[in-house]
């Protein structure tokens, strides 16, 4: 029984975080009567939308054993570009398309740098994080720029009775799941993360795929940027600071390994929900705003520790098997 549970979890890596969501939600429902209201749920979903969408992109990157620290900076740059262009030209379409194109381009630059110079993605994107954020500040002259009221539609508006950010999340989620599980890009990404050496030996398009996943990461960050901008109501200098931590935490909580090779989109989205759930819980019990970060960090640490422990158990089991094989070998020889 226990072994079948283990094997299910090892195949469906998103299950633990889904269960954690349910358990924690049930707990909150008992503690607070406000929790189970529709409006609370809707606001949680909207809150998680921005990070969940980015987490979908980040999942692809981490599956190739990469990482993108610069996502928060891309988010900020896009918001700045959009707000500035809208203010200068009053053209929504121009601002929209320029922002998304630019986000994709910045992601692509990350990918090109990582593949071209074979520098660790951590260092590369740490550098571009600084560059992108600096460029954005340069662009706007460090001004706060308000966006017109009708932009709010993207953040709070409804379409077919559903909040727009949720619709966007669902669409990107479906696309992401399809891309990861049914296209060559998805399979190659997993392969590269599983063994870069084998990927090269098998003549897989390693460079193309790696650049593509960073480009995807950039693009979804662009979409998130617009949603966030719409919700906040204008460009502020604090936008996007530290968001990459939340995004990476969501992906890791969702069961994707930092070492690459395997991971699921569902898990990452559940991971993003979970982080919002924690915030919500802290909010409902009137916790001090200062402990939010401490709790988030601790949760991430705990999740990684649990994963590490189970991996270690499996490792020692493998050593045990190896020992038995060796003895068996002696016996049969």
């Amino acid at each position: 029984m226990k072994s079948t549970l283990n094997s299910i979890i090892s195949k469906q890596k998103w299950l633990p975080i889904a269960l954690a969501n349910m358990v924690f939600a049930a707990l909150l429902a008992i503690v607070s009567p406000v929790f189970l209201t529709l409006s609370n749920f809707q606001s949680m979903l909207i809150q998680s939308g921005v990070t969940a969408i980015m987490a979908i992109g980040m999942t692809f990157i981490i599956i190739t054993a990469g990482i993108d620290i610069s996502m928060g900076a891309i988010l900020f740059f896009c918001s700045a570009l959009f707000a500035q262009l809208l203010q200068d030209t009053q053209s929504y379409w121009l601002a929209f398309s320029a922002a998304i194109a630019c986000a994709t381009l910045l992601g692509t630059i990350n990918g090109v740098l990582v593949t071209r110079f074979k520098i660790s993605p951590l260092i590369t994107t740490l550098a571009t994080y600084s560059i992108y954020r600096g460029m954005a500040i340069h662009l706007t002259g460090a001004q706060n720029i308000p966006v017109p009221r009708e932009m709010g539609f993207l953040g709070n508006g409804k379409l077919f009775g559903l909040p727009v950010p949720i619709i966007l999340l669902i669409v990107i989620f479906i696309l992401g799941v399809y891309l990861l599980n049914h296209t060559r890009l998805g399979l190659y990404a997993k392969a590269i993360g599983s063994s870069a050496r084998s990927a090269n030996e098998s003549n897989l398009p390693v460079t193309k795929v790696t650049v593509a996943v960073y480009a995807i990461g950039g693009m979804v960050t662009g979409i998130s940027a617009l949603i966030l901008l719409a919700r906040v109501g204008g460009l502020q200098s604090g936008i996007g600071i530290g968001i990459e931590f939340t995004v990476i935490a969501a992906v890791i909580l969702g069961g994707t390994k930092l070492t690459g090779g395997s991971g699921t989109i569902v898990g990452s989205v559940f991971g993003a929900f979970f982080l919002v759930l924690i915030d919500n819980g802290l909010n409902l019990v009137n916790a001090s705003p200062y402990i939010y970060d401490i709790v988030r960090g601790s949760v991430l640490l705990a999740a990684v520790a649990v994963d590490r422990l189970s991996a270690k158990r499996q490792e020692s089991r493998l050593i045990q098997i190896k020992k038995q094989r060796l003895e068996h070998n002696h016996a049969t020889n």
Binding site: H182, S194, R197, S198, S202, N203, L326
Partner: protein
Amino acid sequence: MLNDNNTPLLSFRGLTKSFSGKTVVNGVSFDLYPGQVVGLIGENGAGKSTTKNMLCGLLEPTAGKIFVNGQLVEKNEGHVHGISAVHQELSLFGALTVAENMCIGQLPGSATKINWKKVEEIAQEQLDFLGIEIDTSATVESLGAGKQQIVEIGKALLHADKVLILDEPTTSLTAVEREKLFVLIDKLSTRGIAIIFISHFLEEIYRVCDHYIVLRDGTQVDSGLLANVPQRKLEEMMVGRTIDNANVQHSQPHGGEALRVEQLSSADFKDVSFNVKQGEILGIAGLMGAGRTEVAEAIFGLRPSTGSVYINGVKTENRTVDSMKQLSACYLPEDRRTNGLFLNRPVRENLSAAAIYRFIKQGITKLGFAGESHVSQKIVNDMGIAIPHIEVRVDALSGGNQQKVLLSRWMATEPKLFILDEPTKGVDIGAKFDIHTKIINLAKNGAAIVIVSSDLPELLNVSQRILVMRRGKMVGEFQREAFDSVKIISLAASSNDKGEGR
């Protein structure tokens, strides 16, 4: 069968490969017909892998010709010509499923829609063809080494199914898995696939092959029909050179016991016991993967083990390289480039690293390393390390000079016990002789020395006693008077466990 049996599937003439002027393979020729299984045999470093890489298109030969179906191949691209190779290190993706691994090179369906049903079908069909039951949806990392090997073979044959090259395919397999692999090879051969089987387990060669090619020092010693050659003859051809023991003046082991190992066990070896006296040189022979390096590492606490280790009769607890250094014992690892040397630092620092405290006696008042340069220069002169000056970075040195640097570094601490793992691997003949002389002199001066080596002539030449390990166990012991290379090889490579020589 696609080919008639009169045209060789693959033939090669005078294959030669040189790296920066050094010829590693010289003039290998053979004709490979459908269904043939050819054993490519030779000692470590004889040129088997280089030959393999030329045949599967990973390396371009410096000279020589390759023909496929009688047609001259200008540029060998391996799988294009139906030649595939399964390398020692498998090119699989652990996190992906069996089916995904097998089909990843040529995925059915379009780039935006993989035909998963077809992927399953292809993989299942291939596994059925190989006659092995493996769950196609299992991840490769969840499989044992034997099944991983089969998946790799299946993957290889999907792309190129005329000639299959297997490089040391049995090293990580259990006895049962090995037998399954042999049955599979037999089956592939009856279907007209030609197989090149690289191994130094001669029993395995006789079990699966019908022809053989023997390489020694990069040249083809002999080839032909296996049935015409007794195993002993083959072993002699592999070892080749007669060993001249006359010029080696050994000292007699004098003094007490320097090292005693009792019942040492770990995941890779079991119940290993032996001892070495002061002034004695003990060789440990065995094939790659026999557990020799692991034993050495366990003695120095580099891997967890059970059992006891005594240094000069005193039992050791919680061994580390540093605590062993306090006991005047040192270990020179097999892979000196990654485990021993500071590659991007100058020779001077590499020489002083282990005895650094000798040079910083000045303490705080006078920072710096008094006498370091002077001592390093002296060592360089004494050891005959051929470098322009002692500030040369170690990665610029030849293998032989690197090994001398590593050996000298530890000699500076004046150890009483050396464990040397493959001390002359990748070292040219001249430096090899120098190192052997140093080792013998060290023993004469009272040090106890353990040499782990895959180079049997080296062990025969230098050591006073040889222990043989096979698949994690000590299986034999030979005194110098009773040294017999053929006996030692067959003991190390045999697949039964009857001890000999004890």
